[in-house]
Symmetry: C2
Subunit: 419 residues, 2 copies
């Protein structure tokens, strides 16, 4: 069964202190008191409790600033773990991360999303079990599982609100069933939001920053983080940037909207465009009948990277379309940074980064106020799965981040046992 709750009292103070220790890597009690505004006595007591729980350890002494050198503390990285599961249309990625969010084990496999959920979820659970065993991670130290997938979702109920990849997945209790099978708490969240929060947890952004993430795998999604918290909106179905219109006179999308970004710039669109480009499909040996369009997309991206003019022109056009949506993201959310994450950016990252940065520099309304940097994710192509695991760490360890008014309980789906 899952480990018991880490604490019952003062969760906000403890969460705040633990988050500061995580962010600082090593820090003294005096610095913690300065950063939190709490008294030295309170800090000492909280740190003692965290050390008693095994979450924090001493880490030598800092440089002297005149008096006695200060004892530093740091996270006990291997004290707890969490699991991230990304369920994509074509692939499932599972990572195990330590308390600092660093991956300690990873696996991926294909085919589950094509199965009905009754068949797929036990396979996912078996793979989680196998990965924990391979990594020799003590199950009692696993805080939970962050299951991330596309939207829309009912995060509270732990169900997908879309009949994808098949009708049987619509409103199937994916989080609850996985929790039952694994005997671990499972939270469901958006893959792009997960990829976004991973940047913060890894220390890649300023703690107070408002930044966005554009996530491209089979489709295109997005997330925005404000001062370390995922922007949620009314129902945690925010930043669906793949389904905003870039052409008010454009084509109808199955989602109901017209001119959706994903249909112009996503991997499937790029493969369609390449197949329609005279000579290119033959040159790259693209298979119009292939169900695995990501492989075809990777071939086009590789040709673009290698200098094929037609392939490069298509990838640049895709990047300009995404740049248009990135400008919308910047002008609406007033972000100071846009992170590009997901496997499909990974294969042609530098072309996308360059072109999207150009579009943002040229077009965003807020350029008079501040620049917007376009950067690749520090978590590479596993950003969503790692982010899923990070969401578990954040929800379990730093409840300071859980605001009472976000309308969605931070607690993951339980395992059916009493708390």
């Amino acid at each position: 069964m899952a480990t018991s709750p880490i604490w019952a009292s003062r969760p906000r103070t403890r969460g705040l202190v633990l988050d500061l220790i995580r962010a600082a890597r090593t820090i003294s009690r005096v610095e913690l008191a300065t950063a939190t505004g709490l008294t030295g006595a309170t800090i000492s007591e909280v740190v003692r409790e965290l050390m008693g729980d095994g979450l924090v350890v001493e880490a030598g002494r800092g440089a002297s600033t005149g008096g006695k050198p200060r004892t530093l503390v740091q996270l006990n990285r291997l004290a707890r773990y969490s699991v991230g599961v990304q369920l994509e249309r074509n692939i499932c990625v599972i990572v195990v991360v330590d308390l600092a969010g660093r991956p300690v084990a990873r696996t991926s496999f294909q085919g589950v999303a094509a199965m009905p959920p009754e068949q797929a979820l036990p396979r996912v659970a078996a793979q989680v079990d196998a990965l924990l065993a391979t990594a020799a991670v003590d199950r009692d130290k696993v805080l939970g599982v962050g299951l991330v997938s596309y939207g829309p979702q009912d995060r509270r109920a732990g169900v997908l609100l879309t009949p994808q990849p098949t009708d049987q997945w619509l409103r199937h209790p994916v989080a609850g069933r996985l929790a039952e099978t694994l005997g671990l708490p499972v939270l469901l969240d958006n893959d792009a939001a997960a990829a976004a929060i991973g940047e913060y947890w890894m220390g890649a952004v300023d703690p107070g920053s408002t930044y966005g993430c554009i996530y491209m795998a089979t489709g295109i999604g997005g997330g925005v983080v404000v001062a370390g918290e995922v922007y949620r909106g009314s129902s945690s179905n925010s930043v669906e940037i793949g389904h905003i219109s870039i052409d008010v006179n454009g084509d109808q999308c199955p989602c109901g909207n017209i001119g959706c970004l994903e249909n112009y710039a996503g991997p499937a669109a790029l493969v369609r465009q390449a197949i329609a480009t005279p000579g290119l499909a033959q040159r790259l040996a693209l298979d119009p009948a292939s169900a695995d369009f990501l492989t075809e997309f990777a071939r086009i991206a590789a040709a673009a990277n290698a200098g094929d003019p037609a392939a490069r022109s298509l990838v640049e056009q895709s990047a300009r379309y995404i740049g248009c949506a990135a400008v919308t993201m910047a002008s609406l959310f007033d972000v100071d940074r846009i992170v590009l994450a997901g496997t499909s950016f990974a294969v042609a990252g530098s072309i996308y980064q360059t072109v999207i940065q150009q579009e943002v520099d040229r077009r965003t309304f807020i350029k008079r106020a501040h620049p917007v940097r376009v950067v690749p994710s520090v978590n590479g192509s596993d950003a969503a799965a790692i982010g899923g695991a990070v969401l578990v760490l954040q929800s379990e360890l730093t409840p300071a981040h859980s605001r009472p008014d976000d309308g969605v309980p931070p607690a993951p789906a339980g395992t059916g046992e009493a708390p």
Copy 2:
């Protein structure tokens, strides 16, 4: 000079209690304790202090729930006032509101924005003085002035970051100069954000709601409110919805972007389209040389309301364009409501509301999760000016809303005196 700060200690608790009293209109101490989670003793003490400051008064007794009927308290509406000043390209609107945000006096006049700011701001100040005198509002009870205008802005410095309406306004210290002249604190903010927060303060939305506002006067702006707080982003230049692209292949906008909503759907665009429509310009006696395009726009809107097919078709097309952007707002911010505010929606409100609601119902990605209602602003065409005044009330009275991490100090530009 301005009234002194209302309190120096426990601002969050006092702000929270005052906000609950405001929202509830009348409420008992027991209900306040339940809503805040504070002890009865703390509530009694805070209410005593608020009554001592004259901000709250007793309001009779509520219905008995078995025991002794409970004494109710309510805002002392006339204990404090604030002023909202909306500076538009063509008009300046000034309102004085009471502690509940209800307007007690209003004036508007044209011509100031065409002047250099050195000339315009003293005129605005004189009008504020005259309005306070006319309304017989004691100056010591005025908390401050909320000056609202278009973006981008440097809210902290109190300057506009755009050379509009003339170059001389760019980076002119509008908030500071107005504060000096009036001897009152002045905060600068975005007009559309102000219009948005006004809805919350007037009790038109659920306190926990995430909702958006589309604001149309001479241009088109926007604001989003999350649980009673304006969504700010990195620099308080968020939700610039008039300058998001609705056509990736569209026309260049002076802002740098292409296909900006404002150039397709704003009043100036509609007047251009009407003048280019055979017969319509003659029928409505539109003046292609008029500098006052809002008057021409109002004529088109009136004709549309009266059933002129060509005028109606143009207004509906404008509404569909705005609907496209409204869908983007809904899909990115996950709002549960979109408020239409500003003078230009006021003249043809029901056509805009109907068409935008249709577009949102049909196209928004989150429709599977929840509906999004499109509604007119409760504050009518003065929504921005009233909202400016409300932002002063919120910043001075309910500091619970001012989070330390929003990157921008909630305190308005001072009057040069020591605090």
